[in-house]
């Protein structure tokens, strides 16, 4: 075992931290209030130029080949300042990685460099539907072959980055008669394609700057070359390739948790009650101790999952463990951080109420905690069978 970052990973982490502290953190509260969206988009471009949109992507496609551990630590640093920016970065990286893993050489060269360079501010995943959340195989969006083209009909919801995404990875049913999950395929749909419409924006509890919209597909005609991967193999792609996204969201949760405990520790040292700094009280020390222990364990689980992915070992169980633990830890830590701040923590004068709202979604998106537990239990039971 060797549990330190290497020089390159340290450098990426330091770069991410510096950018996050100087560019992202000062803006985060305004973004949360729904202001200065244009600066949010500017920052996406800057992050792309720094190489953060294709961390685990080959240089041939404009990525920086820094690996999965680097991706995780960078995401944590970005989330420590702004969770909305972090989720956009995580999804962009995953879109690049899925196209890299499953797409044709032509598809890779057509889309990945645009996301990596910032020419596309974002890429998006369109998997979820109103009736297909934890059970994506229940989707009803349909793709019908028409000559060389495909015609898509249906609607997708909760699509991160939809209004400024240059390309959508869209899952649709291509064989209605096939067994559940066996007749789904994956397509690449470019923004602006007629019949591909960005719908209603969700009003969310947190992560306000990150847009979340409905995506409507109304007789949306796409060429045969838009099929990504094999026909009817889309569900397997969704299940297998999206495990990497769980490392991203876990890392994001860790970053929010770290921001919360750091803010709470600083406040505990300054705040005086009963004639002394409240950091002198064991009740406060213990909250901070539990938070630090939780986050340290989360970090190690994330690093372990990232390491396994980087080494081409199986990592699905480990990624689920890391996502489950890190995001639930983030929520516990935010809760206790607000408790340390007392009434002030409930106001927008301090950032912990925003952290709490931003953290809440992390146990839900990219696989709820409940789904992570199912994955873990299934793998464990299988390994002892």
């Amino acid at each position: 075992m060797f549990l330190d970052l290497n020089e390159e990973q340290n450098l990426i982490r330091a770069t991410a931290r510096q950018f996050a502290e100087t560019e992202l953190a000062p803006l985060a509260a305004a973004l949360d209030r729904g202001e200065q969206q244009e600066l949010f988009l500017d920052n996406l471009k800057k992050l792309a130029q720094l190489g953060f949109m294709g961390l685990n992507v080959k240089a041939d496609y404009g990525g920086c080949e820094a690996g999965v551990i680097a991706f995780s630590v960078a995401l944590t640093e970005i989330a420590r300042a702004c969770a909305s920016t972090a989720v956009t970065v995580s999804v962009n990286n995953m879109v690049c990685e899925v196209i890299q893993a499953v797409g044709s050489e032509e598809q890779r060269l057509r889309y990945i460099p645009k996301i990596c360079s910032g020419e596309f501010l974002a890429g998006a995943f369109a998997l979820t539907e109103t009736g297909a959340g934890s059970d994506p195989a229940a989707m009803t969006t349909l793709a019908i072959r028409d000559g060389d083209d495909w015609i898509l009909n249906g609607s997708k919801i909760f699509i991160t980055s939809a209004p400024y995404a240059g390309v959508f990875v869209v899952w649709a049913v291509t064989d209605r008669s096939a067994a559940k999950g066996k007749g789904i395929s994956c397509f690449l749909v470019e923004a602006g394609t007629p019949g591909c419409l960005v719908g209603r924006a969700e009003e969310k509890m947190g992560q306000h700057a990150s847009a979340t919209n409905e995506l409507l597909l109304q007789d949306c005609r796409i060429p045969g070359s838009a099929l990504m991967g094999k026909l009817n193999d889309g569900f397997r792609v969704a299940v297998a390739e999206l495990a990497g996204g769980r490392i991203g969201i876990g890392s994001l949760g860790l970053g929010i948790g770290q921001a919360a405990i750091e803010a709470a520790s600083r406040y505990a040292l300054e705040r005086k009650q009963f004639g002394q700094s409240i950091s002198n009280f064991q009740a406060i020390q213990w909250k901070i101790a539990d938070a630090a222990t939780d986050l340290e364990a989360a970090r190690l689980l994330l690093m372990n999952a990232a390491f396994r992915k980087e080494q081409n070992k199986s990592y699905s169980k480990e990624a689920s463990m890391a996502k489950l633990f890190a995001t639930e830890a983030a929520n516990r830590v935010c809760y206790e951080a607000m408790q340390i701040f007392g009434g002030y923590g409930y106001t927008s004068e301090f950032p912990v109420e925003r952290y709490s709202r931003d953290a809440r979604i992390t146990t839900i998106y990219e696989g709820t905690s409940e789904i992570q537990r199912l994955i873990i239990a299934r793998e464990v039971l299988r390994s002892y069978a």
């Binding site: 020390q285 222990t293 340290e296 390491f307 396994r308 537990r373 002892y384």
Partner: protein, 382 residues
């Protein structure tokens, strides 16, 4: 970052696991029932495997391995028998390690080597009736008399007490100094006149590991048995406990792993409503949470062990590892009994023993509360 274990570490796991399953498992329940310490089985055979001095250099009878290997050894013993796990942990981390860290060359030759070889069993005497979490409350005192020290006082809750041959004993050497100042550490051998064993504790768990009181009545030991410098005792105790926490964290990890595997096995076999209870989400979620908490604790334990061997600071990390692993052990064993239902509450299954064994890991070598103070103050001070 590199998370893989070395071949040597994997080999140690295999060797210890095979020993534990073949030799320790058959008598674990009986030894618990009868509160029986089997020295041949629980120490001499562990010594034959080269574990009693695993982290010390070969010139002192050790195996020259790292702390991860040590943690794996304690984990694997404890997975089957927590009493054997703590016997090794107390012997190596608390008995032998302070001699390695603070002993003179002569002391190392005389005491570390036989402990590392496993010909003599080690123990550690810090706790007193009035000095538990607050070691500064130590009342046992040592007075210099010519070329000897004269010890008076008593120590309680001493693991391996009565059976060990070598004891690291803490006593006040400066009556005027307060709290943690003026305490010194001594090496005291069994059968020294004036050193007797008091009450043997009757415990809830780890019943196969002996715990007893040490009583010193004008016990005279040679001056060269002072360990480290006079007045340095508190520092020696704290340094020793930093390492000891790795051992106890590994013990807790092993208990949790053992209980988790029992629960998994039972859930797959036990049928209710015409199907194995493992097919119910209610049970699956318990198993998943067990797996996650154990994996998180394992990484914390190995990280603190890695830091210890790499020469990095590890006080905060070993406190995190101990806190997380011991609370995980308590949680996992409680849930393992739950998965077993009524059967789990009986002695027909090992999980009730594991649950009783797990409890002590939240208490000894620094309670969870003390770990939280250690971690909390370290974090707040940045």
């Amino acid at each position: 970052m590199y998370f893989q274990l070395t071949e040597e570490q994997n080999l140690i796991r295999e060797t210890v696991r095979s020993f534990a399953e073949k030799e320790l498992a058959p008598s674990a329940a009986e030894r618990d029932e009868n509160e029986r310490f089997d020295r041949t089985l629980m120490f001499d055979k562990v010594a034959e495997l080269g574990l009693t001095g695993i982290v010390f250099p070969e010139e002192y009878g050790g195996a020259g391995a790292d702390y991860i290997s040590y943690a794996i050894a304690v984990e694997e013993l404890s997975r089957v028998c927590a009493s054997t796990g703590v016997t090794l942990s107390a012997h190596l981390s608390l008995g032998a390690n302070p001699v390695w860290l603070f002993g003179s060359e002569e002391q190392k030759q005389s005491f570390l080597t036989p402990m590392a070889l496993g010909t003599r069993l080690g123990a550690f005497g810090l706790t007193e009736t009035g000095a538990g979490s607050d070691a500064g409350g130590t009342k046992t005192f040592a007075v210099r008399d010519g070329e000897e020290w004269v010890l008076n006082g008593s120590k309680i809750f001493i693991t391996n007490g009565g059976d060990a041959e070598i004891y690291i004993v803490f006593a006040r050497t400066d009556k005027n100094a307060q709290k943690h100042h003026g305490i010194s550490a001594f090496i005291v051998e069994k059968d020294t006149p004036g050193f007797v064993f008091g009450k043997k504790e009757k415990k809830m768990g780890i019943r196969s590991s002996p715990t007893c009181e040490l009583v010193f009545e004008n016990c005279r030991i040679p001056a060269d048995r002072l360990l480290g410098k006079e007045g340095e005792g508190f520092k020696i105790a704290m340094k020793t406990l930093d390492g000891g926490r790795i051992g106890i964290a590994a013990q807790a990890l092993g208990i949790a792993q053992g209980a988790y595997e029992e629960a998994l096995k039972y859930a797959r076999e036990r049928k209710q409503f015409e199907q194995p209870i493992a097919s119910f989400q209610g049970v699956q979620f318990i198993l998943a949470d067990m797996a996650v908490r154990i994996e998180a604790s394992r990484l914390l334990v190995y990280q603190s062990a890695w830091r210890a061997s790499a020469g990095l600071s590890y006080g905060k990390e070993s406190a995190m590892a101990k806190l997380s692993a011991s609370e995980t052990a308590m949680w996992v064993t409680t849930k393992a009994v739950q998965v077993h239902g009524g059967y789990g509450y009986t002695r027909d299954f090992p999980v009730e023993r594991m649950m009783r064994d797990a409890k002590i890991t939240e208490i000894y070598e620094g309670t969870s509360e003390v770990q939280r103070v250690v971690i909390g103050t370290a974090v707040i001070r940045g």
